[in-house]
Symmetry: C5
Subunit: 265 residues, 5 copies
Amino acid sequence: MMPRFHTIALLLLWVLIGSWISSVHAGGDREKLLAEPGIYGTFAVFGLDDEWGRVEPSARIARLATLKGVVEQHREHVAIDVYLLRGLSDQADLMFRIHATELRDIQEFLLDLQSSLFGKHLKTAGIMHGLTKKPNYVPGFSDQLKADLKSPSEAGEKPYVIVIPIKKSAEWWGLDQEKRTALMQEHTAVALPFLTTIKRKLYHSSGLDDVDFITYFETSSLEDFHNLVLALEKVKEFHYTRQFGNPTLLGTVQSLDEIIETLAQ
Amino acid sequence: MMPRFHTIALLLLWVLIGSWISSVHAGGDREKLLAEPGIYGTFAVFGLDDEWGRVEPSARIARLATLKGVVEQHREHVAIDVYLLRGLSDQADLMFRIHATELRDIQEFLLDLQSSLFGKHLKTAGIMHGLTKKPNYVPGFSDQLKADLKSPSEAGEKPYVIVIPIKKSAEWWGLDQEKRTALMQEHTAVALPFLTTIKRKLYHSSGLDDVDFITYFETSSLEDFHNLVLALEKVKEFHYTRQFGNPTLLGTVQSLDEIIETLAQ
Amino acid sequence: MMPRFHTIALLLLWVLIGSWISSVHAGGDREKLLAEPGIYGTFAVFGLDDEWGRVEPSARIARLATLKGVVEQHREHVAIDVYLLRGLSDQADLMFRIHATELRDIQEFLLDLQSSLFGKHLKTAGIMHGLTKKPNYVPGFSDQLKADLKSPSEAGEKPYVIVIPIKKSAEWWGLDQEKRTALMQEHTAVALPFLTTIKRKLYHSSGLDDVDFITYFETSSLEDFHNLVLALEKVKEFHYTRQFGNPTLLGTVQSLDEIIETLAQ
Amino acid sequence: MMPRFHTIALLLLWVLIGSWISSVHAGGDREKLLAEPGIYGTFAVFGLDDEWGRVEPSARIARLATLKGVVEQHREHVAIDVYLLRGLSDQADLMFRIHATELRDIQEFLLDLQSSLFGKHLKTAGIMHGLTKKPNYVPGFSDQLKADLKSPSEAGEKPYVIVIPIKKSAEWWGLDQEKRTALMQEHTAVALPFLTTIKRKLYHSSGLDDVDFITYFETSSLEDFHNLVLALEKVKEFHYTRQFGNPTLLGTVQSLDEIIETLAQ
Amino acid sequence: MMPRFHTIALLLLWVLIGSWISSVHAGGDREKLLAEPGIYGTFAVFGLDDEWGRVEPSARIARLATLKGVVEQHREHVAIDVYLLRGLSDQADLMFRIHATELRDIQEFLLDLQSSLFGKHLKTAGIMHGLTKKPNYVPGFSDQLKADLKSPSEAGEKPYVIVIPIKKSAEWWGLDQEKRTALMQEHTAVALPFLTTIKRKLYHSSGLDDVDFITYFETSSLEDFHNLVLALEKVKEFHYTRQFGNPTLLGTVQSLDEIIETLAQ
C-alpha cells in the first residue's frame, strides 16, 4: 500500500527502540526468575481483534511500538517471553509467559499492556497461573534416575513451544506420597529418552487456577514431542489424569522483534 | 493525549467527591453485614466492553464519577467491596462483592450500576449468590480444634482475593451429619496452619445458584494459598466435591478510588 | 438528560395506556390457565441488547409502550407474567412466563413481541416449555401427607421467583411406579415445612425440551428456599437427579408496569 | 411505516411469484424422496441476524422473494420443507428439512440460499444430516406388532414439529442384533398407542454427524408427544441412550408462503 | 449487480493467474508429502465473516485473487488441499488440509493467508494437527489381512470429504501392544469391504492437539461411509473411544478454482 513509507517507518522504529532490543532478554533478574522455585508464572493468551487487520501500516507500526515500550518498562521486575500461536492454535494469536516474584507485578504489566494502543486490539483468550517449586518426587527416585535427570538437554534452537494444562483426579491426591512417587518414577523413566530434544518446565496451579499443573515444553522436534506424550499416555500415572490439554497451546518461540515484524505486515 | 486537562479533571473529581471517599468503607451497617449470619452475599463479575478503551480521558473520568455516585447512594443499605480481576482472570475486569439483608437491595444497586453512564460499558461475566450461616460442623469438632479456630489471622495487608465456587456430590448430601462432621474436622485440621496468612469466608448457595458454596479468600501469600488447596485436595472430603472452581476468580483487593484511578488510565 | 420531557412523556404513557393496566392481570381465562392441568407453560428469558442503553429516554418510552401493547393484545388467549432477572441472573434481564392451552398461541405472542419496536432489543437467552398435569404420585401418599399438602401457603407478598429445570437419570425412569412413589413421599414430607413461605408449581417437559421438569417457586424468604433445597439434596430421590438448575433463574416478581418503569430509566 | 406501499408490494409479490406457490410442494420427485430408503435428509437451522429487524418493509419483501426464488429453482432435485422455530426454540428462527439423493444437491441449495439477499441475514444455528433406510429391527418383531405398525396415523393437520437427535452408547452397538431387536420390540410396542396423533420419520446419522439418529415428529397434540417420550424413557432401551435432544427442536409446520408472510412483518 | 463487469473481471483473473492453476496441484514435492510417514498435516477450518456477503463482486474477485496468490507462493514447500464445507458443516465454510515436513512452514502459509485481503474475512473455526506414521499394528496382522489391505481402492471421483477427530481412553493406552493389535485387527477386518469406495488417511495427534487421531476420508458414497462407521461402532475397539467426531467435518472435495468460483458469487 505505502511500501516506501512502511519501510522507512520500520527502520525508524528500530533506530528509536534499537537500544532496548538486546536488553529485553538480558535483564539482571531474568535468569533467577527462570531458574528458581517460588516464582509465579503467568500464561496470557490473546487474539487480535478484527480491527487490527484494517489498521493502516504506519499506524500499525506506531501501535506495535507501544507493545515494545510496555515490555521495556516492566522488564526490571518481570521476565517476559513471547510466542506466536497464530496459524497453529485456535482463536489465539499471541502468548506471553511472564515470571515474577509476585502476581501483582504481572497484573501491572498486563494492565499496562492492555491499556496501550496495541493492547486495545487484544482479546483475552485465556490466562493461567502457576508457581515453580522444588521437585516433589525426585528425592524419592532411584540414584540412577536422579543421575540421568541431570544430563543437560541438547544445545541448539528449539523453535516450537507447547503448553498443556493438567488436572489430576481426586484419586491421585488421595494416594499416599510413596505411591505417587513410584508412579512418577515410572512416568519420569519413560520421559527420559526424550529430554535431549525437549526442554520442559513445570508450574503448580492448584488454587491459582482451575487446573493442577501447567506443563511447558520447547522442542526442536514435534515428532519427538508426539512420541513423548504417547509414551506418557501408556504409564499407570496417566489413569489419574482428568484433564490433559483442553487447550493444548502450540506455537513458535520468537523474539519480541520477530513478533513485531510479523504483526507489522 | 490531553495530559494537562486529564490531570486537572482528575483533581477536580477528587475534590468534588473527596468527602465520599473515606465514608464509603465506613457505613454504620457495614460491620454487621460482614460479620453476621443470615446475610446475602452477591459476587457480580464484569468485563469492560471494547468501547471503554476508545472513550476520551475526560469522558472516562466523568463516567467513573457515576460509578462513585452509585456506590455512595447505596452504601446505607448494602456493603460494597470492589476487586480488580483484570490481568489475572479471563474475560473479567471487575468484581463487586455486595452484602445485604435482602437480595432485592442488591438487585437495586446493580440495576442502578448498570444503567449509570459507567455501567453501560459493563458486560456481565457472572453473578453468584450465597448466604452466610452459623458454622454447620464446628459444634461437633474436638475442643482443641474449636480453640485453635479462634486464634485470629495475622494483621496486615492481604492484597490478593480468590473466589472458588464449590458443588458437592449427591453422595455427600446423602451422608449423615455425624459422618460429614468427621470429614469436615479432618478438612479443617489440615487448613488450620494456613489461617495466619489466609482470611476466609463461606457463603451457602444451594438453590440460590448452581453451586452449593462460594468460598472467598484474602491472602498475603498466594504460595500459602496454593499449599492450602493442595492440602485440601488430599483429604477424604475432597472425593465428594463435584465442582471446585470453574471459574476460579483471582484478583487484587482494591479501594474504589484505586480502581477508579486504574480505569481512568 | 431532558428530565422534564422524560417525566411528561411518562405521564402521557400512563394516561394513554392506563386503562389497560389493571385488566392485564385480570383476564377471564387467566385463573383457569394458572390452575388447571393440561396447560402449556413457556419460560422465555431475554437479555436487552447493547443498543437499549443508548436509546434516548423518549424513544425508550415509546418502545416500552409497544411491549405493553403486545401484552394487552394477547391477554385474551394467554396468561402472561413478567419477572425482572437483571442484576440477579447472568446475561438475562427479563423473564416471561406464559400459559396457554396451545403452544401455537404462545408462539404467536412471542413472534409479535419480538417484532415489536421493543422486542427488537431483546436477545433470547433461553426458552423452556412444560405442561401442567395432575399430581403423579400424590394418590399413593399416606393420608396424613395428603392432608398436610392441602394446607394453603401463607398469604402476603412473595417477591422472589426461582426457576430450576430438572433432568432425572435413566435409572429413575427405570424404577417402577411404587418405588418412585415411595421416594417422592420422602421428598414431599421433607419439603412440607417450607410450603408456608414458598409457593411452587411443576411443569412436565420430557419431549418438549431437554429437561424433564421445570420447577417454579415464589417465596418471601430466600433463606427458607435455600433450606428447602438443602433438605431436598439430602433425600434418596436426589441421587436420581442428573441436572438441577444450569441455569438456576433468580429474579423478582413484578407487574408489567413496574418492569416498564425500571426499564424506562 | 408506509403501510400502503407495503400492502401493494405484498400483492405484487404474490402476483409475480404466485404461479410458483402451489408447485413448490408438488414436485414430481417429492413423494419418492419423502418415502424411499437411501435418501439423504438435512436439517438446516438458522437464526435471523439483528439487521433483519431493521430492514424496511419494502426491502424485506424483496429479500423474501429471493428466498422464494431459490426454493423454486432447486425443487426439481431436492424436496424442501420449512418450519417456524422462532418463539419456540432458542436462538433459532427457521428450519429447513431437505431431502435429496445426493448431499451435493443439498449443499448447492444451501449455498444458493446463503448467498441470496435473504440468506445474507441467516446465521447458521446447526446443520444435521441423516439417511433413510429400511427398518432394521421390524423383520424380527412379532407378527402382531408388525400388523399393528401398518395401521396408518390419523389424517388431519399436525401443526407441530419436533426434531430430536439421538446418540447411543458403545454398549448399545456392542449388543448382538437379536438382543437389540428384543429391546426395540419393547420400545416399539410402547410407542404404538401414540402413532395415531404422531407421525414420525427416522434418519440414520452415524458418520455423517456427531449423533447416531435424527428423529423427526409431526403431531397435533404435544401432550401426546410428551406422553410418548415419557413412555420411551421407561423402557430398557433408554439406558443405552447417551444423548437425547440437546437440542430438542420445537416449531410449527408452515408453508413457505406462511413463513414469508410472518417474516414480512 | 454489474454482471458484465463481473464476467470480464473473472476472465481477466483466469488469464492473469491461469498459468498457476494447473501447477498448484502438481508441485514436485506434493506426492511425497502426501505419501510418506513423518509428515505433518494441519486441518485449518474457517468461516467467512458477515462482511464478505456485503463485498461488491469486483472487490470480491480481487480478494479471491489474493487467496490464489498466497497458495501459489507457498506451494513449493507445502501441499495444500481445499474443501467446501459451507452448507454441510456448522459455522464452517472452508477447510484447508496442508502437508509439510515442518509445522513452521504451515504456520507461515496460514500467517500469509490470514493477512491477505481475502484472509481478513476468515474467522478461524478450528485448527488441528497430526503426523503421518508407518502403520502401528499392520505388522502384527494375519497374512491374509495384510494382503487384503494392499488391494487399491476404486479409481474415479470421490467428491465427499469427512474428517473425524478421535480420542482414545486411558484404558486403551494402558493395554499392551499385543492386545491392541488384536483389537485393531478386528477393526480393520470389518472396515475392509468398504475400502473400494472410501479412501482414508490417518494422522497421529497426541501432544500436538487435544485428540489422539485425525481420521480423513474421501468417498463417492456417503451411504457406504455411514455403513463403515456403523460397522466400526460394533467392534470391541470402539469401547475404548472417548471422543469420536465433535466435530465431524463434512464437505466436498474441490479445486481451488472451483472454490474461488463459488465464493465469487
